[in-house]
Amino acid sequence: MNSFLSPLHSWTLLDSWIVVIGALSAMACALPGCFLLLRKQSLMGDAISHTSLLGVVAAFFVSHWLVEAKVISPATELSVRHVTMCVGAIVVGVMSAWLTESLQKLGNVESSAALGVVFTSLFALGLLLIRAFADNVHIDLDCVLYGEIVTAPLETVGNSGVPRAVIVNGVVLAINLLLTVLLFKELRLSAFDPALATTLGIPAQVMHYGLMGLTAMTLVAAFESVGSILVIAMLIIPPATAYLLTDRLPRMIVLSLLIAVLSAALGHVSALTLPLLISRSIGIADVRDASSAGMMAAAAGFLFVMAMLLGPKYGLVVRVWHRLLLKLRIAGEDVLGRLYRFEESAPADLSATSERVALLRKITSQSRVSRLATWMLIRRGWLIGSGSGVHLTDIGREAARTLVRSHRLWESFLAKHFVLGEGRFHESAEQVEHFLDPELLAELDHDLDRPGVDPHGRAIPN
């Protein structure tokens, strides 16, 4: 255990900055991601993250050309390049969204196919340009893809010691936050009900392309420091995780921001610790650390899977548990009903022990669920089960009476209002009896003028 955590003992300021950069860019991505998810355009963000490469390459060319033409000095090239990169990415991002849409409309191409054609073509163009003119521009493809999050903190602004990546991603996050707060109503409406949004005068096109432009800007700002992998993952995974946890949009946005931060921290910690663990268990030479950006994406995925399994409302575990509880309740109620009917049919001879033993055996041998349900009823004190068979206690009999009452009232109700075969009453009542509440029972009773017997001629208990 100690050796597993040992890399963390050498945690430095650098590691903290890495987490901060990861968290800031992840949060910046999660904001537009929330709306992309709700607008069912998750893959659009993905596509833009690919096509932005073309914008980045174009920006390199422009800044390089400006230096060659002596418009700017080589010293300012870097800062000019950042601006052109941002503009280039926004232009290409909006362009790819527009191309996809026109291909869909003009060419009758199905939307996902249109998206695929556009993003692969533009990305291929970007790749080709990089390779073809690699001598003139110094872009490392690996850097664009995988990011340089480990070295990003080293590049600081002035003497403040604050890494430039922190400032860039912080500014983008601030812009995204501001826009989300200011345009919250419009964004929400056009995400959930585009038709209503249009009738209320919210321009759908502007919202669509605005969101695409914003996404592209966020992506390209984050690219440099954390690479496109983290960006692709952080755009959709934290919002999707939050979406599984809540039904309210404001809560979803806040949650997705928290999850983004958590993934960044968890990712870097596991990048430091996990590889050692894995490499030792596989038995290869010690590997010190893995790509932090990759691990942050993996951590976000891990959190998503956790939410998918353990979410309070939509989690798989909770849903399975609820289904099990319902099954147990129904099985228990069925046991009660059977006992009640047994006592009803043999009122004179309540001590017919052999029959009771046979009944207990019959009930418990039926299925594992009904055995468990019987056991729970005994624990609760509604049944007394012993060697001499099974008896209803007074509380148990009360519950059983309500159930049988529900069953027979429902049968009577069906008989009064529907023309059905006799067998059908029973079938339906077997299911409905478990879900009738006291109010509905009173309604039924009133509707049927307080009937004494059910359609089969058996007394309806009070």
Binding site: L43, L125, L128, G294
Partner: protein, 464 residues
Amino acid sequence: MSAASLLAADSMWELFSRAVSLRDYNTRVVLAGTTMLGVSGGLVGTFLILRKRALAADVVSHAALPGIALAFLLAERFSPGSGRSTGVLLLGAFVSGLLGMAMTLAIRSWTRIKDDAALAIVLGLFFGVGTALFTVVQKTKTGNAAGLRDFVFGKTASLVAADVWLIGGISVVVIVLCSGVFKELSLLCFDEEFAAARGYRTTLLDGLLTLMAVTVTLIGLQSVGLLLVVALLLIPPTAARFWTNDLKIMSGLAAAIGGASCAGGVVLSAAFPRLAAGAVIVLTGSGLFLVSLVFGKERGLFPRWRSQRQFEQRIGRSDLLRACYELLEPILGANETTQESLTKFEIDELELSGMRQWPAGRFHGLVSTAVREGLLVSMSTDGYQLTSRGAEEARDAVRHHRLWEIYLLTQTDLDPRLVDRGADGIEHVLDPDQLAELERRLDNESPHGVPPSPHPLAITAETP
């Protein structure tokens, strides 16, 4: 020009001609294998597109990354040096690709997250894990890069013959398999329930299609790179769709486009080694896609624009001729508008243009077209005369219009003032059978004659 640059140009040309003339054994093998890959991609992609699952291939290719890295690590662990074997790496890719596919299915069916988001989530997650594992691989002694990087960006031209035999062989198997179950797959794509009712095992077929798609994606990884391999399955069938509505022709065309773009990409990247091979293959496909988008016979922009234009011209022509007829009708008297008498009178240009609210430019265009087509004859003054063919067509146009007007008046409760407008749109699309039916229903006594207008004639607005 210096000697050095001459030499450079010469070797460049040498390289190019070697590539194009396929003088190298390796280039020939790569060309054949990669072309097979393109053909199988186009074929399988056709069905994938029809089932709207094209982007699933993108997820598979990204999801393959952790599998490749892990397969390398494990192979190196158990028998050092075997990690670079293509078979081992592809096996790892296959397992994790399928795992990624299974996870999208799980997310889609067990949570309330939609299809597209499920794809994006799995893509991000697997790609992240894959990158993390890749850095681990690169830090092992044997693993610095180890050719694994080629899986990301592709390296077509420098593939070794043994790998290409594997790629080509698997492609051929996929092609044969796909052609074998062609009928079943097409039924699956167009009417899944009908296929199930016919007794086909749709789940099995769907699984087979998925398996073939995963296979093509994975064997394409080395040639095109995982970032772009989806294009192999996506671009050819989307391009083929512009040319035809027939699935058989479409799949054949998709296979051809896929093969052509791969072959073109291989030759180009062999000639210009600096170009990224995967990107060249994709861009060749994009070029073919653009050509199809513009010129595709069935859905292409140009043919559609042309037929739209032809239709508009036909409408304009019959509107013009009807105006001529209606101008002459009061002069001749309703019963004297025979084909012969219509050609005898001159029509004043100004009066004609006033018959309908034509924009000036359009009116002149229509008239000059009609003159060119021999429907009108230009007279010395600002006037025209109908030719005998023009008169015939004019009578037809008016007959269509009025039959429909009468039909609307007698059979519907339409306001008589609206009847003219209603007929204006329909008259152009009535076919002979419908006309005969109209005449039968209206008990028209003079078949092929022109019935009188059921309402006073007035200037009509130009139909949009």
